[in-house]
């Protein structure tokens, strides 16, 4: 197929550019695409955020319901993260059960939210063993132009940061209160192209990549999650380097995610 031939040529070109410290879209190797966040995009959600990361577009909606805590954690609420890679967002996604890519994306994002203790789940408990809040974080990918993991977590953290506990709707109290966000994890994803390590890969850079690595950091200086993906390898030095870079990008992105509360 001609598609495969052109992909081959593009890969060679991307590698060649990277060896000179350049990228196809003119960015530096350590530069993110422009980020724009629109909180409150979906009014029927209890919290939402539309994230533009260059041409990548994701929408996260948070819904809170009263439910039952899990038997093994009777004093804690429930948090579920789900990322849908719907066929609307890219010619490479087909309808049907989630692919391994979708499952990986969803789980890497969920892990960062959970490990960073983004939400204090014990605060979501209403009556131990009987009643607690269930927090659903649903991420919808709308335009897949690369680096879904970073965009998905950014939208989730932004949506949670602007979410409301719908106490009135469930008849628990007279007024709604803001959902308390304790920590704000940010994931930064890097790919290897030859000897170069690029942050925030585009779709084509991901396809050409010789290894991908994601680092999740929080505002207290903790690394809360990591994930190496695709075929390829990173040395311990590479890993230390990307962790440093992840902290630097993380602080800036966290401020964007937090924004100003409505």
């Amino acid at each position: 197929m001609s598609g495969e031939v052109s992909a081959e040529i593009l890969t060679t070109h991307l590698l060649d550019l990277a060896s000179k410290g350049k990228r196809l879209d003119g960015r530096g190797l350590d530069e993110y695409r422009p980020i724009r966040i629109e909180p409150g995009f979906a009014a029927n959600a209890d919290g939402s955020a539309f994230v533009h990361l260059g041409d990548t577009k994701v929408l996260c909606g948070v819904k809170l319901e009263l439910g039952k805590p899990f038997p093994d954690t009777p004093n804690a609420g429930v948090l579920t993260t789900n990322a849908e890679l719907i066929p609307l967002s890219s010619p490479v996604f087909e309808p049907g059960p989630p692919t391994t890519t979708a499952i990986e994306t969803s789980r890497v994002v969920d892990r960062a939210i959970r490990a960073a203790e983004t939400i204090d789940l014990t605060r979501l408990c209403v009556t131990p063993g009987e009643k607690s809040w269930v927090c659903y974080v649903d991420v919808h990918v709308l335009d897949h132009s690369g680096n879904l993991i970073d965009a998905a977590l950014l939208s989730a953290v932004a949506a949670l940061s602007h979410a409301t506990l719908p106490r009135k709707r469930f008849g628990v109290a007279e007024t709604d209160t803001p959902l308390e966000v304790v920590h704000r994890p940010i994931e930064c994803t890097f790919v290897r192209l030859g000897d170069a390590i690029l942050v925030d890969p585009t779709f084509d850079e991901e396809k050409a990549a010789q290894g991908r690595i994601t680092v999740a950091t929080d505002e207290t200086g903790r690394i809360v999650a990591m994930q190496k993906g695709l075929v390829g390898a990173f040395s311990p030095e590479d890993i230390k380097e990307v962790v440093e870079r992840a902290f630097q990008h993380g602080d800036r992105m966290r401020a964007l995610a937090q924004g100003e509360r409505r």
Binding site: F41, A42, A43, N44, A45, D46, S48, D55, K57, L59, G61, V62, K63, E65, N82, E84, I86, P87, L88, S89, S90, P91, E94, P95, Y136, D138, H140, L142, D143, H144, S145, R169, F170, G171, F203
Partner: protein, 249 residues
């Protein structure tokens, strides 16, 4: 439908003929259409219709998947209408429920009636509709978005496909129901019309109406579709006059 706490029926029509949001019986909610907001899709459109927000993307004509659906003399039109889990009051389980599957089917059939499918044998034209925020009339907003997306993708069609719902609220036939009117009204009649012929390629109805009311509802729907049609053309004009100003888009 309905929300968690049981609520009393709101006042749907004031004595001087104002509806719950102040509209007259024959008024549409505000509609804003953006053609081509997505990069990956061959064509796309975003529609804000009252409090509805709907994104549509079109891919194709491309290889048929699954393969056995392929037809040798024409393209097939496939549609996936899906609601985001957070698009409604009570969280919806992700994925296609029976309602979404039915809507997907009637929308696919509506578009199959207007595209020149014979021009692309052995291919599929895939239409994806994602409801991001719902407030009654999402299938109509979805059809409008998908139709603009098809045009944006350059798929040859007989015409654009405007859509609107007409309903019966507090005994009156009204245009373009919003959520409260849909929940507490007596009838809902969504339709999609080919403007050139004035024929309906999508028509559903739920509730009860007399013959006279139905006739009035259809007339009102035709008028509503014509207004929506203008907005669709406007969105496409905006898209292609701004981006064609420079080099080729």
């Amino acid at each position: 439908m309905g929300s968690v706490g049981a609520k009393d029926v709101p006042i749907l029509m004031t004595p001087d003929g104002r509806r719950i949001d102040g509209r007259r019986w024959d008024e549409l909610r505000p509609i804003h259409i953006v053609a081509g907001p997505l990069r990956q899709a061959d064509g796309s459109a975003f529609v804000e219709w009252g409090a509805n927000k709907v994104m549509a993307a079109v891919y194709g004509p491309r290889e048929v998947h699954p393969r056995h659906l392929q037809e040798n003399h024409r393209a097939i039109v496939q549609c996936r209408y899906n609601m985001a889990a957070f698009s409604v009051d009570e969280r919806k389980r992700p994925g296609l429920d029976r309602r979404s599957q039915e809507i997907s089917k009637v929308i696919a059939e509506a578009f199959d009636s207007v595209v020149f499918a014979e021009e692309f044998p052995r291919t599929s034209i895939d239409v994806y509709i994602e409801v991001l925020q719902a407030n009654a009339g999402t299938r109509c907003a979805g059809v409008v978005a998908a139709s603009v997306a098809l045009a944006d993708a350059g798929i040859p069609m007989v015409d654009l496909l405007p859509a609107v719902a007409v309903g019966k609220v507090a005994g009156e036939i009204v245009l373009d129901l919003k959520k409260e009117e849909d929940n507490f009204g007596e009838a809902d009649l969504p339709m999609a019309m080919v403007p050139q012929s004035g024929r309906m390629v999508l028509l559903q109805m739920e509730g009860h109406m007399t013959r006279d009311e139905l006739s009035k509802a259809l007339d009102l729907g035709v008028k509503g579709c014509r207004d929506v049609h203008e907005k669709m053309k406007e969105a496409l004009r905006t898209r292609y006059t701004t981006t064609d100003a420079g080099a080729e888009a």
